[in-house]
């Protein structure tokens, strides 16, 4: 039976180690080495090597394949002094990781050398519980949750699409939600606008939504804009700085205004629209993908573009499309997965079918093309009432 010291010595013989000086050089050269911190959570919270990922020694075997799927990746494992991480390095090799080294001297030696340390912002115990299902997902985790808490999303419209989108974004802990809507809650809204309620009839939608969303999650700050988005106020509203815009407007002038403003401000837009049983949803990423004008250079004439107020909409449809918008917004914030940029999803609730069509950048687009002809806000109401002007 070996003692701890004998076991440690044997394991150290079987693994490779590098000094903190050498590890620091690897970090500086950004050659792809990934630092894996296997200490206890409280040690991590007091500071860690910049760029390191955290997985406590206790759950290392369970979690590492989710965190680092590539088993050829160069891993530098560390703890405080290099002993716990020696055992961790050994386990990683047994799991098939081919390039694992232990940091001799550990984090204590790293600090002694005066190298940079990152002090992580930490979630409160209440937040750890609230977001526990996010924290368990490798693609989100604590870093991702912090990103969500830091994120600012502007919702245009607190109606059918804005209701589910705002509810899920607030529940997810998106820290700041701006909401633009001039309307008050009407009885005919409640068949689908689930962020409002019967007791809020007559109340401004932005304030009704604020009460619901802050009740759902006190971490979220709601910034209400009780006004219709126009060329006159768009710069003031965007001046607050937003990471993502969720477009759930109900008219073409606002759609084109949101588009032009987002292109000029470089803010991605998660676009959704609904009518009767059908929904369309996509993402416009300025500079990288098509914009709304690339997809629809001109609005249709009014007789071809009835609103939901005129043509109706199945109550659950905005729930589905608005939830997809929330999903896209979360992915954009987390920088994970493949966004809908360049793809338009078409959902048909009657047939329960989902189709996808390709949307390409239009090099002749008047706003995001190679030689833009529209470089400032236009009269969007007039533009949408004279659709053939630019043909």
């Amino acid at each position: 039976m070996a003692t701890y010291r004998e076991l440690l010595a044997r394991v150290k013989d079987e693994i490779d180690e590098i000094s903190t000086i050498e590890a620091h050089e690897r970090l500086e050269s950004s050659g792809g080495s990934l630092f894996v911190d296997v200490r206890e959570p409280d040690e991590w919270e007091e500071g860690h090597i910049p760029g390191a990922i955290y997985t406590g020694r206790g759950r290392l075997e369970q979690r590492i394949e989710g965190l680092v799927p590539d088993k050829t990746r160069e891993l530098v494992v560390y703890c405080s002094a290099g002993s716990r991480s020696a055992f961790a390095a050994k386990v990683l090799e047994e799991l098939g990781y081919e390039n694992v080294v232990n940091l001799a001297g550990g984090f204590a030696d790293w600090k002694r050398n005066g190298f940079d340390v990152t002090i992580p912002r930490v979630l409160s115990p209440e937040q750890r519980t609230r977001y526990s299902r996010h924290l368990l997902i490798p693609e989100v985790g604590e870093d991702g949750q912090q990103r969500l808490l830091d994120a600012r999303v502007l919702l245009v419209g607190a109606g059918g699409l804005g209701s589910p989108a705002s509810l899920y974004l607030a529940a997810a802990g998106v820290g700041t939600l701006g909401i633009v809507d001039a309307d008050v809650v009407d009885e005919s809204n409640l068949q689908r606008q689930i962020v409002h309620s019967t007791e809020r009839l007559g109340e401004p939608k932005v304030l009704s939504a604020k009460r619901t969303l802050e009740g759902l999650n006190p971490d979220v700050r709601i910034v209400p804009f009780q006004e219709r988005l126009t060329s006159d106020n768009v710069e003031r509203i965007l001046a607050d700085g937003w990471d993502v815009i969720v477009d759930g407007a109900d008219n073409f002038p606002t759609r084109y205004l949101v588009n032009d403003a987002s292109v000029w401000h470089g803010i991605p837009v998660v676009h959704g629209s609904i009518f009767r049983f059908e929904g369309q949803v996509t993402v416009f990423t300025p500079g990288a993908g098509p914009c709304y004008r690339c997809l629809f250079p001109q609005p249709p004439p009014p007789e071809l573009a009835p609103s939901c107020a005129e043509g109706g909409v199945l109550g659950v449809l905005p729930g589905i499309i608005g939830s997809i918008q929330a999903n896209e917004a979360l992915k954009l914030i987390l920088d994970r997965g493949d966004s809908l940029a360049g793809r338009l999803l078409l959902f048909d609730a009657l047939g329960t079918t989902l189709d996808e069509v390709t949307v390409r950048r239009n090099p002749d687009c008047p706003v995001c093309g190679e030689s833009p002809t529209i470089t400032d806000y236009v009269d969007y109401v007039e533009f949408c009432s004279t659709p053939l002007e630019l043909s």
Partner: protein, 90 residues
């Protein structure tokens, strides 16, 4: 023969159908076949014989404007989606 998806705002003009079969070797011929049978569609899809600028047509998921427009060949069994913009969000 191609299957053509009819958007909700045009269904009243085609007797409520969500999808119609139409004949033609090109997108233009398929649309002409539809317009022959439902003349009111002509004013909504076409502008001086060209595809109206506010209507998108997708053949197997690709915008025909990125291919050969109305001259884009249609093979048997391919599906077309007529897609005007929708603004509704509330």
């Amino acid at each position: 023969m191609a299957a053509v998806r009819i958007p909700p705002m045009l269904r009243a003009d085609v007797g409520g159908a969500r999808e119609l079969d139409a004949r033609g070797d090109t997108v233009g011929e398929v649309i002409d076949d539809l317009v022959d049978r439902y003349p009111v569609l002509g004013g909504q899809l076409l502008d001086d014989g060209e595809l109206a600028s506010y209507v998108n047509v997708y053949l197997d998921g690709e915008d025909i404007r990125t291919r050969d427009g109305l001259d884009t060949p249609v093979r048997a069994g391919e599906s077309l989606i007529l897609l005007p913009a929708m603004a509704g969000g509330v």
